[in-house]
């Protein structure tokens, strides 16, 4: 019962934080709001019986990805002034887009509503880290390997893309 209440509460928080994150003009604030949203989602995950994911959500998302974002924002000095669009303010585009998004939500919700998933009687369930790890490294071992490749290549890619001209030239000279 408490869990249910908590779910709605956290959901509301997540939504609110997300909205705030979107409408912030300063990306730094956005990231902070987003971290808030991610935290609430992590709690929801926990409530839904996924403690590992909840932990990872905080560690990976909040801890790594968001920090990366922040880092880049700081590095590029993206402040509201110079990040602002040169042309019309952001709000200018919001009208039609909001309409679009609302239609989308409405349509999707209606579609979902047409297909009631009877979740009554489904007991609470809890995936222990042990189960999780076992499945991950047994059944999804291949996926893990692919992801590891993927991450390493992402590093390579990021390195390549982010390399400065000067550095590249130096490398060329070396070869």
């Amino acid at each position: 019962m408490i869990a249910t209440l908590m779910f709605y509460l956290l959901g509301a928080v997540a939504l609110g934080a997300t909205v705030m994150a979107i409408i912030q003009r300063n990306p730094v604030y956005s990231v902070i709001y987003l971290v808030k949203s991610i935290f609430s989602l992590a709690l929801i995950f926990y409530l839904l019986g996924a403690p590992m994911i909840a932990a990872l959500q905080i560690i990976v998302y909040a801890g790594a990805i968001m920090v990366l974002f922040l880092f880049v924002i700081m590095m590029l000095e993206v402040t509201p002034t110079n990040a602002a669009t040169r042309t019309a303010p952001g709000w200018f585009h919001w009208g039609p887009v909001l309409l679009l998004a609302l239609t989308l939500v409405a349509l999707t919700l209606m579609l979902i509503g047409l297909d009631p998933v009877s979740s009554e009687g489904v007991p609470r369930w809890h995936a222990s880290p042990r189960d999780f790890g076992y499945t991950l490294f047994k059944e999804y071992a291949l996926a893990v390997k692919i992801i590891s490749f993927q991450l390493s290549f992402a590093a390579v890619g990021a390195f390549h893309v982010g390399m400065t001209e000067r550095r590249r030239a130096r490398q060329e000279d070396a070869s």
Partner: protein
């Protein structure tokens, strides 16, 4: 004998082809020799094979030209009395004209083309004469048209000449169309196009069909023979060199129509309506041309209209049912008209290449010989008693009179009137050309001996050809009618009527002479009257045709090419193309380079898909 028959055709063809292909590579007089030799050879071959023609004639098939389904057209010759007499005349006159031309065209640099065409022309004409089927006849028929096109426009540097040639070709081709339709129809009816075959089968036909076909043939004949309403090309055709005028427009081409009608006489004669139409066309043309001849200023144009008029007589004769009268007049006319044209050529040379009779006069002093020769021709044309023209014209008029019914008596009356007119314009011509002093300022250009030499035989023939078919009144035996096997054409009128008719003819001749003498013995410059102008322009028929045919043709052409082709079809195509490109530009504009816009497109697509699914799920 077969070989002789073939040679008649082959020699002119070979001469023409050799000249056309290799003439320009041969030394100068050779092509002329070839050309003259070919025609003279043809004439000799004709003489030699004359015996073949007697009686029912002789048929010779060389090879099959076209054969498809049950249609068959052979290259075959039909050499019967009619064809023989015609062949003889064509080759004979053509030989003389070739010789004359050799002299006339001496200084012409492009002789080869001239003689090649001339030979081909003779060949085409002989093909008409000798063809045993209508398709081959049609070949000659069109061939004559082409050669006349080439010859009339021989001096092509002047656009008018070339245009005259084109006019001749196209106008005669209009007539050809009718002929072609008649040919198709005849084949559809009989399953054959052989002339003998058709003539043998006609008796079973319905009269209306016969009338229709005959009228089609008549129109075809009108084109080639320059009869109303397809007559306007002949006067313009005088643009060609004089030998051409002599050959084409006196002796041969214009007689092709008459010949065709005679050839198909068994068919044509079945329909009285058609016969009446032929007679009517003939007399109307005779009258029309005679009136036009009254006002002409160019010597050759006068002769051209007179030709038209005389051919009208021949049509009249066919319409009256007398093939021999038609052929008789055809022969005599060929002789004296060739004579007239060639002498006219001499006169023109003498006058210093001057065509206009108002700028002639006193030519008798320049060359008495030519004067006498020309006068002989004129007398024949005018129908002076005892000349060949007198007899042949008289036979036609007498035949008309002999029918006795009002229609034919009317024809007779008109015929007599035309005879009077003929006499008048002949002497008008004579007085204007020969009387008084020379009015031009050009130095004479003496005709060479080669030009004069062929004139004698023609003059003699012109004056004496009447003997060929001398009526019994003059104790003649109507030899021509007998040769043609048309004894029914020999008239048996009472002596008094014959004398009456002859008297009328002589009276009319004298009347015409007197009137002409009265008016033209002394030349005086005078403004042409309105009527004169009208007649000078050939009743303004050209303008009428221009209004009725040429201008609408051009207008439709412009409509088609500018309205439909460029406007409608191209417009639709270009419009479609532009529509596509515009659409393309608009669609390409969707990709304006901005990511936000692209993303919106993506979301719109998503919305559409979801919306569609929702619709599916709800319904």
């Amino acid at each position: 004998m077969d070989i002789l028959l073939i040679l008649i055709l082959l020699l002119p063809l070979a001469g023409g082809v050799i000249n056309a292909c290799f003439g320009s590579r041969m030394p100068q007089p050779v092509p002329v020799f070839i050309a003259c030799g070919a025609v003279i050879g043809s004439f000799l071959a004709c003489l030699g094979s004359l015996t073949l023609a007697a009686g029912d004639g002789y048929r010779l098939v060389l090879f099959t030209w076209l054969k498809s389904g049950n249609f068959q057209a052979d290259i075959g010759l039909l050499y019967d009395p009619l064809a023989a007499i015609m062949t003889l005349m064509v080759t004979g006159v053509a030989s003389l004209i070739h010789l004359y031309a050799a002299g006339y065209m001496e200084d012409e640099p492009d002789q080869v083309r001239f003689f090649a065409l001339l030979n081909l022309f003779v060949f085409a004409m002989l093909t008409i004469v000798l063809a045993d089927n209508l398709l081959l006849l049609f070949l000659g028929w069109e061939g004559v048209g082409f050669c006349s096109y080439g010859l009339i426009g021989f001096w092509y540097r002047k656009t008018e000449n070339a245009d005259a040639g084109r006019k001749a070709f196209i106008v005669t081709r209009i007539g050809d169309l009718f002929f072609a339709v008649a040919l198709l129809w005849l084949f559809a009816l009989f399953g054959t196009i052989s002339i003998e075959g058709i003539n043998a089968q006609v008796s079973g036909l319905e009269v209306t069909t016969v009338t229709m076909i005959s009228l089609l043939l008549l129109f075809g004949a009108c084109g080639k023979s320059a009869q109303v309403p397809l007559m306007s090309w002949l006067a313009d055709a005088m643009a060609g060199p004089t030998p051409v005028s002599a050959l084409i427009h006196a002796a041969t081409m214009v007689t092709a129509g008459v010949y065709l009608l005679c050839r198909m006489f068994p068919l044509v004669s079945l329909s009285s309506t058609a016969m009446a139409a032929i007679a009517l066309v003939g007399i109307v043309t005779a009258l029309y041309a005679a009136t036009c001849a009254l006002a002409q200023n160019e010597i050759k144009r006068v002769l051209a209209y007179s030709t038209m008029s005389q051919v009208g007589y021949m049509f009249l004769a066919v319409g009256l049912g007398s093939v021999s009268a038609a052929m008789f007049h055809l022969l005599t006319h060929a002789f004296f008209k060739a004579l007239l044209f060639m002498t006219a050529g001499c006169l023109i040379n003498l006058a210093g290449h001057e065509n206009d009779i108002r700028r002639m006069g006193g030519m008798r002093q320049r060359s008495p010989l030519v004067f006498w020769l020309f006068l002989a021709g004129l007398l024949c044309l005018a129908g002076a008693p005892l000349t060949s023209g007198f007899f042949s014209k008289d036979l036609i008029l007498a035949t008309a009179f002999a029918h006795g019914d009002p229609f034919h008596l009317g024809l007779y009356g008109l015929g007599v009137m035309v005879a009077g007119l003929t006499s008048f314009y002949c002497f008008r011509l004579a007085y204007l050309v020969f009387a008084g002093d020379f009015r031009g300022d050009e130095l004479p250009h003496e005709p060479s001996a080669l030009m004069l030499w062929p004139l004698y035989p023609l003059a003699i023939l012109g004056l004496t050809a009447g003997l060929l078919n001398l009526p019994h009144l003059f104790s003649g035996g109507s030899w021509l009618s007998g040769w043609l096997g048309r004894t029914q054409d020999v008239l048996h009128l009472s002596i008094s009527i014959e004398y009456l008719l002859i008297g009328t003819a002589i009276a009319v001749f004298v009347l015409g002479w007197l009137l002409a003498a009265l008016r033209y013995r002394k030349y005086s410059e005078r403004q042409p009257s309105l009527v004169g102008e009208f007649l000078l322009n050939g009743w303004r028929v050209d303008d009428l045709f221009d209004l009725l045919l040429v201008r609408p043709f051009k207008k439709i052409g412009r409509f088609c090419s500018q309205g439909v082709e460029a406007g409608l079809i191209e417009g639709v195509l270009n419009g479609a193309a532009r529509g596509c490109t515009d659409l393309g530009m608009r669609l390409r504009g969707l990709a304006d380079g901005k990511v936000s816009a692209y993303l919106q497109g993506l979301v719109w697509g998503f919305v559409l898909i979801v919306g569609w699914f929702l619709l599916r799920a709800l319904v």
